[in-house]
Amino acid sequence: MTTDITKENPEAAAVPPSGAAPAENAKKVPQGHRRLLTRRDRITLGFMAGLPTILHIALVWVTALASIALAFTTWDGIGFDSIKWVGLQNFKELFEQNPQFWPAVQHNVIWFVVLIVIPTPLGLFLAVQLDKKIRFSRVYQTAFFLPVVLSMAVIGFVWQLIYNPDTGLINSIIGANEPGKYIDWIGDPDLNLWAILVAASWRHTGYMMILYLAGLKGVDPSLREASSLDGANEWQTFKNVIFPTLRPTNTVVLVVTIIEALRAFDLVFVFNKGAEGTELLSILVTNNIIGESSRIGYGSAIAVVLLLISLVVIIPYLVATFRKERRA
């Protein structure tokens, strides 16, 4: 890099000496835009706009479209000539034969519903309480927000210490690690998804709390004053005055939660690698694509399903947003 800079310096110095130039320039400004941009400017601009565009197209669009195209092929990743078109075969196989696919779709949906129903109201509740400027507010705020700072993988490790069926906290306390009374939090498909969702909610609550707290700080204090003058109690004030003003925050919360539900991966992967009961679409994609003899076509088909689900959610949101902007 240093050589680049030194190379650049003489060039920069070689810019025509100032003096006559600005005056000349100033004279010509009214005559049109063209002269405003020198050749160098245009090259620079070309780089500024062109390079990100190329990178964006190459890394986002080409890969996304390639992955859609690959969904209709089989490919083991070895040489391009081994790509074979199979039409809808991958999808047929996915829908009809893969015993993990439908559970995975179902679990992604459950993930979203649980995050909306439990941690979101809880986060709102905590935010409202903290917004009252109670004592030690900062301490509570930090405590609840702390899990959000941790990576999901770390959260997975921490909660495994709690759920480990032999040596974990819960089973040790309630004595459920003995034969006969055994509770297998990680292996039992009726339990493990809920066990993981508790861990996910633990983190999500803090996230929601911070979002709502930011929203509440933006509520005009005079609204509260007015409603208390009107004789509204605390609940009425919240329900009829404060909550409606949180509408933009709610939109953000909804979007964030949808994203969290669709990208759910790391926590489960650390917890039990998506074993029975905790299958997720993202984990199926990974298991099929990464590895020694990968099923890239099949994995891409699962990714396309994930993409379609995302679009079903995102398109209505974008349509609504654009409509609002047009009205504004």
Binding site: V29, Q97, N164, G187, P189, N288
Partner: protein
Amino acid sequence: MQHFTPSGLSLPSPNRRTLLRGIGGAAVLGAGIPLLSACGGSGTASDPKTVTLGSKASDPVPKKAFADIYAAYKKKSGITVDVNTKDSNTFQEQINSYLQGTPDDVFTWFAGYRMQFFAAKGLATPIDDVWKTIGDNFPEAMHKLSKGEDGKYYFVPLYTYPWAIFYRKSVFQEKGYEVPTKWDDFVALCKQMKKDGLVPIAFGDKDAWPALGTFDQINFRANGYDFHVDLMAGKASWTDAKVRKAFDLWAEILPYHQEGAVGRTWQDAAQTLASKKAGMYLLGTFVAQQFTNKADLDDLDFFAFPEIDPAYGQDTVEAPTDGFMMSKSPKNKAEAVKLLQYLGTPDAEDIYLKSDPSVVHASTKADTSSYTALQKKAYDMISGAKSLTQFMDRDSRPDFTSTVMQPALQKFIRDPKGVDSLLSSIERQKKTIFASS
């Protein structure tokens, strides 16, 4: 004029410079992408005194043991082995793109189907000339393991270790148990252990692969080595009555396995054997790593999985074998051949085992005088075997074992009654996977 254009479109020069620096950075990044995907193939192409070697031995003990071999080779031949070590999981995940990019001349890999898969794809060089000199060092079973589907050699084995049933000598002595050699004795022993308040068979399948080992043992004891090979290669059907029989036998002993296996790692299961809460444990010899107390380790012993069908006896041993292969177009082929010839000698194996005593020699000519009792037994078991199998995911397509078999066996462990629909589901998925390439 660069500095003060009225439109503000042109940037002040310091910013422009940082911008250009950014572009330079992006260019470097762009150039870095193919490098990354090629897994950093070494650039010492023309140096005749160097052979490059890609290694997955990233753990400290094997890493040092391998380094000792290469150091000894340099002393002997004057050739430098330029080692490119990567985290073993990453190495395995990227092997595909690694071998297609600019791989090192020689790389560490596994014997069996996984080796044959890349050989059949043309991503490895046949090394029949190497085997001309090292052939005598290895038993017949190792010869069989080192050949590709085309009958040519592609692999040089270095070390191996068997799977067996581990137990504590003191527990067996105290309770008067005898090592079972027949299936019925084994089941009777399980019953007795349960009565005595022990967990008969320790079991942890959280990582999803240990159950593959249990299936392997039951399957080749009941149906023989050839059926195992056919089944793993996708030729035999999973709905065959023979497979069903293996699962029935498994279901018979499943109640004697440790409860909640899918939530437990093999390390935790090994602890129940170490603490004498469990009577037996089916695993590879690496289970000894969990016996950190010297007295406990000395108390550890193992026996071969009991006979099920007298026609096959106990003649098959599951013994995953690690070694080396040559990439498709090595830059320094002449020296790579010589290196592989050295790696196939008993000397190289001796050096390795000096630093890593958890495994045994693949060669029958190596020095076994420093072996521990466990190693001696493991060595005898392997050299006395008629056929050696690899672990299921090394004997079959890894994509099949990881995406189909691992979840299927976890399902079976919890719900052995659903075996029929499970087997037909395995068979359907197998057909599409094996048909794909």
